[in-house]
């Protein structure tokens, strides 16, 4: 892929994490448009209305979301035609193997929220690898 502006959908209720993720993407040198949803319900409505042509390049989402759980959003994404190849990364403070298994079964990538800033910044690099961006 070339260096076109990435369309990134972020579903995260914690504004501190939104801040850190934005920073991580920037530090990785990515050019991106971040569309942020603060709760699952709002995100679900958006996902259900998505047109194939307007499909984003990446979904970044929390797991324990208010109102609508991350699981339901992953399921909804699974039902959307045309989103089959769009990577979805679940960033969560959970360390439970049960959650990891659920995420992976629904086609997501499970990433534990790092404890330190340095590790957090690594997430940007991870995303680059997943998207195949230089």
């Amino acid at each position: 892929m070339n260096a076109h502006t990435l369309e990134v959908v972020l579903i995260e209720d914690n504004s501190a994490d939104v801040f850190l993720i934005r920073r991580a993407l920037k530090e990785a040198g990515l050019s991106f448009n971040l569309r942020t949803f603060r709760d699952g319900e709002e995100a679900l409505r958006f996902v259900e209305k998505l047109e194939e042509t307007a499909a984003p390049d990446l979904f970044l989402m929390d797991w324990n979301l208010p109102r609508i759980h991350g699981r339901q959003i992953l399921e909804a994404l699974g039902h959307c035609a045309g989103l089959g190849k769009t990577p979805r990364i679940v960033l969560t403070s959970s360390e439970s193997p049960v959650d990891r298994m659920a995420v992976e079964q629904l086609g997501g990538v499970f990433v534990s929220k790092p404890r330190t800033l340095d590790e957090f910044m690594q997430i940007g690099l991870k995303i680059k690898i997943i998207l195949g961006v230089d």
Partner: protein
């Protein structure tokens, strides 16, 4: 004259013959020969007793010993009447018959040997049994003396047969008497034998002491003025004299309670038995009495009951068949019924839900005769169910047989309830601590990330004070993070202990520990030595945690010397004992208990740590039924030990490997 004159030479052979005849007569009179062999026209003739001297023959015929003359083949050439009498046969049945017929089969072999030896010229003696003619007659023990009668070439053997029956009887009587006397003298109970008139004919030392004076020839009832307790003699009105009469009449009595005044005027409690005694004075029946002094027994029984009523437990005894004999007041008060009712009320006093289990366990206990311990609910007379700890042991007699069952039931209801409350409170607390530490991680992560962000973005621009303040914030978050991690590990340690239990090779676990601690080992120059460690069954992470914490501590609390750490495992009683020995700074005695508590630290921040490692170790060791402890000397080093019980599976494995 002419005769005298006619031949001096004719007289000489006559004189010789006369001398020979005189010598023969003398030899026969002195018993030097038993028979004569005379050459005649028909060849050699044996002249035995029948043909020998008449008085000698009469002697043999009439003597009170059996006499036999036997041929080499063992045929009877002659038997005297006494021998006929011994075997109860007629003389004609005996003569010319084989002597073996009259000898008991087991003795025949020996007899043959002896007979053969005596024909070789050696006199022999042996004891054997004769079998008399009537088939129902008892064998007759005899002593047989065999002497060769070698008269020129014809051999016979003379046997003198002595009846040993009287001697045997005398010996056995003497033995019986000796035994009786020894038995009586070594019995601590008084033993008294009376004749048919109830007069004492024998008494042992204990009897004399009890009576306090000479009692031989005294009537029993006078020597022992007993008062018999009616209840113990099945409501019979038994006076001492009645008892004597009944015993002589053939009746037996046991376990009769009686009392009498002894010589000092004190009252002696006695346990008495009485019965007929047969072999007294020409077969006339007498009686035998034994009197055991049970005064001290009675006293100790009284003491036992007083004590049993003082203690707050229910105390009880059962007879060998399992029937309730005794229960103290605590028990009869709790159940609200007397002992004889309680003995048949198990179905009512045991909580219905516990009854089947108790019955089963009790049956096993009575069969195995092993000490018993279990908890059951008993229903009080007010209908309240309370938990009791029931313990019981068998009491054994001298022969190892169970004579009584002894037990206590302790009311543990309050204790049990408090334990349950405590357990549930602990569980709640733990749950809270777990949830809280988990939830604390999220805000801590925020603080950490943003403090680091500030440092990253503004670090060089921050004035000195602010930079320092930010450093403290970061240090604090790091420390709090480590504490939360450890607290979570500590709580997790006791959850689902068997979830990941597996057969693990502790040598492998130790290799992993050494790999994990690579950096501190390298930095401290530590040497880690270990003996061969066993396989155990427990979750791998638990063993890893135990060894890693202990080895890590051994490195951390090192002295100026490079650490030398020995890891060992030895087999104890049904458990493995692991030890981690170091040459570090050691632990003062007053701190050796504290170190296993949560957040207990002996050292300030100069040695990093959260004070939870040993608490986790203790929790893990105890979780698996083991213990943890330390032996240490300041400046010399410490040895940390932990034990793990050997479980059935490992025993099976060891057997398989052996």
């Amino acid at each position: 004259m002419s005769v005298r004159h006619s031949s001096e030479t004719d007289l000489a052979p006559l004189a010789r013959e006369l001398k020979e005849a005189k010598d023969t007569l003398r030899a026969i009179q002195l018993g030097e020969v038993d028979a004569l062999v005379i050459d005649s026209a028909d060849g050699k003739q044996v002249y035995t007793l029948q043909t020998a001297d008449h008085p000698y023959r009469i002697l043999v015929q009439q003597m009170n010993e059996g006499a036999l003359m036997l041929s080499r083949e063992g045929f009877i050439l002659h038997a005297n009447p006494c021998f006929s009498g011994l075997v109860r046969a007629l003389p004609q049945e005996l003569n010319a018959g084989a002597v073996e017929r009259w000898i008991a089969p087991p003795d025949r072999g020996r007899f043959d040997e002896v007979l053969r030896a005596s024909f070789e010229g050696h006199p022999q003696r042996l004891e054997l049994n004769l079998i008399p003619s009537p088939s129902d007659a008892a064998p007759v023990p005899v002593m047989m003396s065999l002497s060769p009668l070698s008269l020129e070439s014809v051999d016979t053997v003379c046997a003198v047969v002595t009846d040993l029956r009287e001697r045997r009887e005398r010996e056995s009587l003497e033995r019986a008497e000796l035994m009786t006397r020894s038995l009586m003298d070594h019995t601590t109970s008084a033993v008294v034998i009376t004749n048919r008139d109830g007069r004492i004919v024998r008494a042992n030392a204990a009897a004399l002491e009890l009576a306090g004076g000479p009692i031989i020839s005294e009537p029993f009832a006078k020597a022992f003025p007993l008062t018999v307790e009616p209840s113990s003699a099945e409501n019979l009105e038994l006076s001492a004299s009645k008892l004597v009469e009944s015993a002589i009449g053939g009746a037996s009595f046991q376990g009769i309670q009686a009392r009498m005044r002894d010589g000092d005027g004190g009252v002696v409690e006695l346990q008495l038995s009485a019965g007929p005694f047969e072999p007294i004075e020409n077969g006339a029946r007498g009686a035998v009495f034994t009197l055991a002094d049970v005064t001290s027994l009675r006293l100790s029984e009284q003491r036992f009951r007083a004590l049993a009523d003082l203690i707050p437990q229910i105390v009880w005894t059962l007879d060998p068949s399992g029937e309730l004999q005794y229960c103290n007041h605590v028990g009869t008060d709790y159940f609200g019924m007397p002992v004889r009712e309680l003995a048949h009320a198990r179905d009512r006093v045991v909580h219905p839900d516990d009854l089947a289990e108790l019955n089963d366990a009790w049956k096993r206990f009575m069969e195995s005769e092993e000490p018993f311990q279990a908890e059951y609910r008993f229903v009080s007379h007010r209908g309240e169910s309370r938990w009791f700890l029931v313990r019981a042991v068998p009491i054994r007699g001298a022969g190892g047989e169970v004579t009584q069952w002894f037990g206590t039931s302790t009311d543990v209801d309050d204790q049990k309830r408090i334990e349950n409350e405590l357990r549930s409170a602990n569980a709640d607390l733990e749950h809270f601590a777990y949830a809280a530490s988990h939830d604390f991680q999220e805000p801590l992560r925020m603080v950490t990330a943003f403090a680091q962000l500030l440092q990253k973005d503004l670090g060089p621009e921050l004035p000195g004070q602010a930079a320092m303040a930010l450093n403290y914030v970061l240090e604090g978050t790091e420390r709090l993070g480590a504490l939360l991690q450890n607290l979570l590990a500590y709580i997790r340690a006791s959850r689902n202990p068997d979830a990941a239990a597996e057969e693990i090779d502790c040598n492998e676990v130790l290799r992993e520990v050494i790999a994990n601690l690579g950096i501190p080992i390298q930095q401290s120059g530590a040497r880690i030595l270990s003996t061969h460690l066993p396989n155990v069954r427990c979750p791998r992470v638990h063993m890893l945690e135990l060894l890693q914490n202990l080895v890590n501590n051994a490195i951390k609390y090192r002295s100026a010397k490079a650490p030398e750490i020995h890891i060992r495992a030895t087999a104890g009683r049904g458990e493995w004992i692991f030890s981690v020995e170091d040459n570090g700074i050691g632990i003062a005695p007053q701190h050796q208990q504290n170190i296993f508590g949560v957040f207990k630290r002996l050292h300030g921040n100069n040695i990093p740590g959260t004070g939870i490692g040993l608490a986790i170790c203790r929790r893990l060791a105890e979780l698996h039924g083991g213990r943890i402890w330390v032996e240490s000397q300041v400046n010399r080093g410490s040895v940390f030990y932990f034990s793990l019980p050997v479980r059935a599976m490992e025993r099976a494995n060891e057997c398989a490997h052996a």
